[in-house]
C-alpha cells in the first residue's frame, strides 16, 4: 500500500480551532479512507476526531503533516490539505 503525505501550513486566522477544526473533522468523516494529521513530529491523530484536532493546538502559520494510506489516499489527502490551508474563518464574510 502506498502512503500519501503532504505538509501544509494552517491558513485560518484562529488556527485549527473552533470552526476550522470542526469543518476539517466533518470533511474527514465523509472520506472513504482514514486521514491523519500530525504537528511538529508529534503523533498523527485521526482527522475525524474534532477533539484530537483541537488538542493539536495548531496555530495559523504552523506546519502540519496530512497522511493517508490505500485506495483514494491521494484525493483524500489533497481534499483535507486544501481545507487546512484555507482561511476557514473567512467563509462567512
Amino acid at each position: 500500500m502506498s502512503e500519501m503525505s503532504r505538509t501544509v501550513v494552517v491558513g485560518s486566522r484562529v488556527g485549527l480551532h473552533s470552526r476550522p477544526a470542526k469543518l476539517v473533522a466533518e470533511e474527514a468523516g465523509k472520506l472513504s479512507v482514514i486521514v491523519k494529521i500530525a504537528k511538529n513530529g508529534g503523533d498523527p491523530v485521526d482527522a475525524r476526531s474534532l477533539l484530537s484536532i483541537l488538542a493539536l493546538g495548531a496555530k495559523k502559520g504552523d506546519e502540519v503533516i496530512v497522511t493517508a494510506e490505500g485506495e483514494g489516499a491521494d484525493a483524500a489527502v489533497d481534499a483535507l490539505a486544501l481545507l487546512i490551508e484555507r482561511d476557514l474563518d473567512e467563509d462567512d464574510a
Partner: protein
C-alpha cells in the same frame, strides 16, 4: 432581617424574584467494579453518547444565535468523537463500568485541551458539560440543566455552560447568580448582552432555598435574602428605569437640551468588529495589540492593512480611532525583546517601544493609512503612553507625514496631563485613558485588588486632572474623549460631559444606559454635577452627592 451574600458584579441592574436552582450534575458514579457483561456496558455507553449527541444537535437547530448554534453543533460532534470512543471502549474492556470509563475518557481529553491553553482551555469546560449529560443519561438521572418553571425566576447555578445559556428565556429568567465564575465568564457576558442583572462568584448562593425570594443587585455585586419593602421598592424603580432606558435608547449621544456627546465602542480585534451592529457612532478605541501579540514575527504591512481594513469596513462611514501598538513587559512580543523589567507599568511600553525599534510604528502608520485610503471610514490615530509635549508633537508629525490628518494622543501619563495646555497646541485631539491615568496619578497598581478604592474613578485627584485636560482642549478647540471603564458608568458619564468631554468610548453593552442617562440631563445639569464631583474631597462622597443630585434611580 435582610442578609447580604457577597459576590462580584456580573451584569448591571437589580431585580427581585424567587430562586430556582439549576439541576446539578451527578457526582456519584457508583462503584468502579468490573461490569458483568462488558458488551452490555459498551452498548449502554454508546446509547448515552448518542442520546446526548441528538439532544445537542436538536438544541443547535433550535438556537437562534448563530454562534451558539455553532458551539452546540461542535459539542454534539464531540459526544460521538471517534478518538473519545476508542478511549471509552478500551476502559470498558479493561474492566471499568461505563460511568467511570466515560468520565476517564473525557478527563483525559480535558487535560489535553487545558494544556493547549487559550481558546482550547475554554473548550475544556464544554467537555465537562457533555460528560455530565452523558453520565446523567447512564444513571437515569434528570439531565443537568435549567429548571422548569411557570413563573419568572432568578436562576442560581454553579456556572452556566453555552448549552444552558442558549436556552435561557429572558422573559422567564429575571436574574442570574453563579456560585463560581468571574466577571469575564461566559455567564456574565451573556447576562450583559441579554440585559439581565447578574452576580457571579457568590458562593453563599448555594444555601438559598428553592423558591425563596431574593434581590439580585448586579451593580453592587450582592444577593440579598429576606429583602425589606424599602429595598423592593428601590429595585422596582431601578428595574423600570433600566427597562425604559434600554427600550428607548437609540441614536447619537445627546443631553436633553441637544448638546452632543459622542457614544463610541471599544474594540479589540476583528472578531469584535461585530459590535458594529451595536448602536454606536463608531469606535473610540481600536486596540491593535491582537495583531502583534503571540507571534514569532512582526506582521507585514500588507497583513496589517487587511486586518485594519476589515474593522474599518465593518463601521462604514463612522469614525474609528486606531490606537497604535501598546506593548510592554506585561504584554511581551516575541519579536521585540524588551527585556525583563521590575516595574512593567512604568517601563518601556506603549509609544516608548519606539526607543527600541522606531520602524515598527512607521510601518503600522503606513498600514493604517493604506487601509484608511481604501475605505470610507473616518480614521483617526493616537499613540499610547505619550509623556512629553515633544513626544506628542513627534508622533503627530509622523502620522501627518503618512497622510493621516487626524492624529492625537492618549492622555494617561500625569506628566502630559499637567502640560495639557501646551500639548493641546500640537495635537488634533486628546483621548483620556482613565484606567492608566488613575493608576499613575494615585501610584496604585491596577492589578492589586486591595487598592481598588484608590483606583476609583471618583477620586477627586482624577476628576481634577481630567478638568485640566478638558480646559486645555477647550482653549485649543480640539476634541477630548474618554476611553476607560469610567466612560461606561452612567453617573460618571454625566460628570465627564459636564467637564467638557466631547465623546465617550466604552464596552458596547454599556452604551444604552449611558445614552439614557445623558438624555435625562441638560448640559448645565452635567456642569453642576461636575462641580459637585470637583469640590468633594472624598471619592465616596463625590459619588453619593452626584447620585443624589442626578435624575437617575441610582443611589
Amino acid at each position: 432581617m435582610p442578609e447580604e451574600l457577597a459576590g462580584v458584579p456580573g451584569a448591571p441592574g437589580a431585580v427581585a424574584g424567587p430562586v430556582r436552582h439549576m439541576t446539578d450534575a451527578v457526582n456519584d458514579l457508583g462503584p468502579a467494579e468490573p461490569p458483568e457483561d462488558p458488551e452490555v456496558e459498551l452498548q449502554a455507553a454508546r446509547d448515552a453518547l448518542t442520546e446526548v449527541e441528538m439532544l445537542l444537535e436538536k438544541r443547535s437547530a433550535e438556537a437562534t444565535n448563530k454562534d451558539v448554534a455553532e458551539i452546540l453543533s461542535a459539542q454534539a460532534m464531540m459526544a460521538t468523537d471517534p478518538a473519545l470512543w476508542d478511549k471509552i471502549a478500551a476502559a470498558v474492556s479493561g474492566g471499568l463500568p461505563a460511568t467511570h470509563a466515560v468520565t476517564q475518557a473525557f478527563e483525559s481529553f480535558k487535560t489535553l485541551l487545558e494544556a493547549a491553553g487559550g481558546y482550547m482551555a475554554e473548550r475544556a469546560a464544554d467537555l465537562d458539560d457533555i460528560r455530565t449529560r452523558v453520565v446523567a443519561s447512564l444513571v437515569g438521572s434528570p439531565m443537568p440543566g435549567l429548571p422548569e418553571s411557570s413563573e419568572p425566576f432568578i436562576l442560581v447555578a454553579k456556572d452556566l455552560a453555552p448549552a444552558d445559556t442558549s436556552r435561557l428565556d429572558p422573559s422567564m429568567v429575571l436574574g442570574l447568580v453563579t456560585r463560581e465564575g468571574g466577571p469575564t465568564s461566559h455567564t456574565a457576558i451573556i447576562a450583559r448582552s441579554l440585559a439581565i442583572p447578574a452576580v457571579v462568584s457568590c458562593s453563599g448562593a448555594a444555601g438559598i432555598s428553592e423558591g425563596e425570594p431574593v434581590v439580585v443587585d448586579g451593580d453592587r455585586g450582592v444577593v440579598v435574602r429576606s429583602p425589606d419593602p424599602g429595598l423592593l421598592e428601590d429595585v422596582a424603580r431601578r428595574a423600570e428605569w433600566m427597562a425604559n432606558a434600554l427600550r428607548s435608547s437609540t441614536g447619537p449621544g445627546r443631553t436633553s437640551d441637544g448638546h452632543a456627546v459622542g457614544l463610541l465602542a471599544n474594540v479589540g480585534g476583528i472578531k469584535d468588529a461585530e459590535v458594529s451592529a451595536a448602536d454606536s457612532e463608531g469606535v473610540g478605541l481600536f486596540r491593535t495589540e491582537f495583531l502583534f501579540l503571540d507571534r514569532a514575527e512582526e506582521p507585514s504591512v500588507d497583513e496589517q492593512e487587511q486586518a485594519y481594513r476589515a474593522v474599518f469596513d465593518a463601521f462604514g462611514e463612522r469614525k474609528v480611532v486606531v490606537r497604535t501598538l501598546d506593548a510592554g513587559a506585561d504584554k511581551p512580543l516575541r519579536w521585540l525583546d524588551l527585556g525583563e523589567e521590575m516595574n512593567p507599568a512604568l517601563g518601556v511600553r506603549g509609544v516608548r517601544t519606539q526607543r527600541v525599534r522606531a520602524d515598527v510604528l512607521e510601518r503600522q502608520l503606513e498600514a493604517v493609512q493604506r487601509a484608511a485610503k481604501a475605505s470610507e471610514t473616518d480614521v483617526w490615530v493616537m499613540a499610547p503612553m505619550i509623556t512629553t509635549v515633544g513626544e506628542a508633537a513627534e508622533f503627530v508629525a509622523m502620522a501627518h507625514d503618512q497622510g493621516l490628518s487626524r492624529a492625537g494622543v492618549m492622555v494617561e501619563v500625569p506628566a502630559l496631563a499637567v502640560c495639557a495646555d501646551d500639548a493641546a497646541e500640537v495635537v488634533d485631539f486628546f483621548s483620556i485613558g482613565t484606567n492608566d491615568l488613575s493608576q499613575y496619578v494615585t501610584a496604585a497598581d491596577r492589578t492589586i485588588g486591595a487598592l481598588s478604592d484608590l483606583l476609583d474613578h471618583w477620586q477627586p485627584a482624577l476628576v481634577r486632572l481630567i478638568r485640566t485636560i478638558t480646559d486645555a482642549a477647550r482653549s485649543a478647540s480640539i476634541p477630548a474623549s474618554v476611553c476607560g471603564e469610567s466612560a461606561g458608568d452612567p453617573l460618571f458619564a454625566l460628570v465627564l460631559a459636564g467637564l467638557g468631554i466631547t465623546s465617550l468610548s466604552m464596552a458596547p453593552a454599556s452604551l444604552p444606559l449611558v445614552r439614557a442617562s445623558l438624555a435625562r440631563h441638560t448640559i448645565d445639569d452635567c456642569r453642576r454635577l461636575a462641580e459637585l464631583a470637583l469640590t468633594s474631597d472624598d471619592h465616596q462622597l463625590a459619588r453619593s452627592s452626584v447620585a443624589e443630585a442626578a435624575h437617575l434611580p441610582i443611589r
